[in-house]
């Protein structure tokens, strides 16, 4: 790493540097000032030509696009894993899931690869979905290089908590518990050091639907995360669903007046909080989703690490609307996204 901003001792060359402008100021007078401050018409034209000849305006965006065929953040938005379903003797529903921890390089911005630890080869892991009262059986196998677990949020017995039953590489463990209470939860590895196991990518969304379900809507999963690609303890890239700027470059298509429900989870490591701010609209906020009563009508929600919320809204005007972290720094480092609301009404479900 180079750092030119660091202090240097006063030396003759630095003095000369300092003198350069002074000398120029006296010696060349107006000409030098003009060189420093004023932009000549040619320069301005040059900048304009840069824009036109390269078809390129200054933009806060990544260059290039992610490799096709890998993790697709757009598909992930609506990808719910309901498991293998069967019925227990007592008539309840049993859902079985297979989860494998795998070391895998993932693309966190176009061309930027991160050596991740993943559930089922993707970050975030699959979105597990069930209904309150279902029996869940999660078969976990560790094919990674480090000991891992799965810790589910929600109510369950101690042996299904995924804290003390460390699964060594090559080992496996089955978590079995009833899904309760309904709401928006999450799961993540709880092996130590915790910060690294989470930041490396071992987390996902765990949705428990209320027994009667929620109102039909277009449902989207959004996990706010970040990646410390140079391992210096702060994130280089921020995103919703892993790939920085993805939904800015590939806006999420919505229909006019359709009910949209966002399951929003904060799994950003290193930064205490993350947030979502939506343009041109307000959303009904259901904190943790464990209650069917809205707690707020707002356009911005702030969540600490591990917090989550359900957001409901519909767009009354067509067009492109941004949504992004209201921490400007996170937004400019990748957590910037777009809804594209078409003029068409949503088809009746």
């Amino acid at each position: 790493m180079s750092d030119k901003s660091g202090d240097r001792g006063m030396s003759r060359r630095n003095l000369l540097r300092a003198g350069a402008v002074g000398a120029a100021g006296v010696a060349v007078g107006g000409a030098a000032r003009a060189l420093q401050q004023g932009a000549s018409p040619e320069q301005l034209q040059g900048a304009a030509q840069l824009v036109s000849s390269h078809g390129h305006v200054a933009s806060n965006d990544a260059v290039g696009d992610i490799q096709p065929g890998g993790f697709d953040p757009t598909a992930f938005l609506t990808d719910f894993d309901y498991g293998r379903v069967s019925t227990l003797a007592d008539g309840r529903t049993l859902r079985e899931y297979d989860m494998v921890a795998i070391d895998e390089d993932i693309e966190v911005a176009p061309g930027v690869w991160f050596p991740a630890w993943t559930y089922n080869g993707q970050v975030p892991g699959p979105t597990i979905r069930c209904t309150e009262g279902d029996r869940l059986r999660v078969n976990f196998r560790n094919a990674g290089s480090h000991p891992h677990t799965i810790h589910f949020h929600g109510t369950h017995p101690a042996e299904a908590d995924g804290v003390f039953e460390i699964v060594e590489p090559g080992g496996s463990y089955t978590y079995e518990f009833d899904a309760e209470p309904f709401g928006l939860h999450l799961y993540h590895c709880h092996a130590i050091p915790l910060k690294r196991h989470i930041h490396k990518g071992l987390y996902g969304t765990f949705i428990v639907d209320p027994p009667g379900g929620r109102e039909p809507a277009r449902e989207l999963v959004m996990v706010m995360n970040g990646f410390d690609t140079n391992f210096d303890g702060s994130n280089e890239i921020y995103a919703v669903n892993t790939v920085g700027f993805h939904y800015q470059r590939h806006p999420i298509k919505l229909a006019l007046n359709e009910l949209v429900r966002v399951y929003l989870v904060n799994l950003t490591e290193f930064d205490l909080i993350n947030s979502l701010h939506m343009h041109g609209n307000m959303f009904r906020l259901y904190r943790t989703g464990t209650d069917l009563e809205r707690s707020e009508l707002t356009d911005t929600v702030t969540l600490c690490q591990g917090e989550r919320a359900v957001l409901e809204f519909s767009y009354r005007f067509p067009g492109r609307f941004m949504f992004h972290a209201h921490q400007s720094e996170f937004a400019e480092l990748g957590w910037m996204a777009m809804f594209d609301v078409s003029g068409e009404e949503a088809p009746v479900v």
Binding site: G19, A31, L35, L333
Partner: protein
């Protein structure tokens, strides 16, 4: 890889040795074969190492070592910034993204995104930078490694053209040329004073030069630290600092007094040349700093520089105190010492790199060292106990002090 190049150099040297030894008649294989033999074995050893050696183990065990150096950031106009990068590391590096002031930003490279060893790229970033404010650039490689650099004060780089050249010519005149010429005007004074006082002023010249040389050398060491690893800043420095005295000495052999010392005009010429080379390095620094906006403000400093650099003119005329010399060659000496400031500023403004600055500062230091040696030799023949004679020693110390004090004037 550099191994091949090193091998070739050695081969040439070995051939020369073989040729020189060719006349000796001795039984056994010819001398050239004996010279080349170890090289053949070396090639075989290298082949075995890469083919069968343990290097593969290390390749697999560790991530690639990436090293990029951001050489320069400059602002050609509003809304555009340019970043020059050099790969001085052992492996090719791929730049995936770029962030300015903690914002990932669109940009273009003048070539492939993958930068090979010792290759260079210029990145154009359409970024709305702010006049007078600091900006920070971070390059993110495909493995997530980052390289960062910044400018403290952003300012429009002078456009290349007549106005730019003119501005730097004037700047160089004020900082480099005019003060030196002014210093030459001490010649009539030196002609009127006694010989021991002339010696005193020559010793003072030695003091001035020692100060300049040490300062340039320290500066070269500092800049050498910014040179991308593969370009070996310390190596450049050694070549410049040791090579220059040898070269200057070889040139100076042409015209000497019978006793082996340099003729007075010869000495003056050497002093002027050394100061010129020294000023070239400083011109580079000025131009580069100006172009990249790394400059502070303060018009009063010109006065300091005028006084400071006038002493360089005194150094040139000191050996000529007892010589008859017409105006033209005298002015030529002054220009030899001063004009390189302008040349350096031009070059530095167009493309300053730590590599060039290190090399030229080292050359300047080496040239100064050579002159100090010449002057010391001159004193050894001329005065009873040379530079250590009380008056001469006082002169030398005064020379150092003058540089130090006028330096204070510059710092304000």
């Amino acid at each position: 890889m550099s191994d091949g190049a090193a091998g070739t150099d050695t081969a040439v040297a070995a051939d020369d040795a073989g040729a020189g030894d060719g006349g000796a008649a001795r039984p056994g294989p010819p001398a050239w074969l004996l010279g080349v033999g170890p090289l053949v074995l070396l090639a075989g050893l290298l082949f075995a190492l890469f083919r069968f050696g343990p290097l593969g183990l290390f390749d697999e065990a560790f991530p690639p070592v990436e090293e990029l150096t951001i050489e320069r950031i400059w602002f050609p106009g509003p809304g555009v910034m340019k970043v020059a990068v050099v790969n001085g590391g052992p492996e090719a590096v791929t730049i995936a993204q770029l962030a300015v002031d903690d914002a990932v930003w669109s940009h273009e490279l003048d070539g492939e995104r993958t930068i090979g060893r010792l290759e260079r790229r210029v990145i154009t970033v359409p970024y709305p930078w702010v006049e007078g404010e600091p900006h920070q650039v971070v390059l993110i490689t495909n493995t997530g490694v980052t390289f960062d650099a910044g400018v403290d004060v952003a300012t429009t780089a002078p456009p290349v053209g007549g106005r730019y050249l003119g501005a730097f010519a004037l700047l160089g005149m004020y900082v480099g040329v005019l003060p030196v010429l002014l210093g030459l005007l001490w010649l009539p004074f030196l002609r009127r004073i006694e010989r021991r006082w002339v010696d005193f002023f020559m010793a003072l010249t030695v003091g001035l030069l020692v100060f300049l040389g040490v300062d340039a050398l320290l500066e070269a060491f500092e800049v050498a630290g910014e040179v991308p690893g593969a370009f070996q800043g310390t190596g450049l420095l050694l070549m410049g600092a040791l090579g220059t005295p040898l070269a200057v000495n070889a040139l100076g052999r042409a015209r000497r007094n019978p006793d082996g010392t340099a003729a007075p005009f010869q000495l003056a010429l050497l002093v002027a040349l050394a100061i010129g080379l020294h000023n070239l390095g400083e011109g580079l620094a000025i131009g580069g700093a100006y172009a990249s906006g790394a400059i502070a403000l303060g018009a009063f400093l010109v006065v300091g520089f005028l006084v400071h650099n006038t002493t360089e003119g005194l150094a040139i005329v000191a050996p000529l105190a007892r010589e008859s010399i017409s105006i033209a060659p005298l002015v030529a000496l002054g220009l030899l010492a001063g004009v390189p400031t302008i040349l350096g500023a031009w070059i530095g403004g167009f493309s300053s790199s730590p590599i060039a600055v290190t090399l030229f500062l080292a050359i300047g230091a080496g040239a100064v060292a050579q002159v100090v040696i010449e002057l010391a030799r001159f004193f050894g023949r001329r005065a009873e106990s040379g530079l250590t004679a009380p008056l001469n020693a006082a002169g030398l110390l005064l020379g150092l002090a003058v540089m130090y004090l006028t330096g204070l004037l510059v710092t304000g």
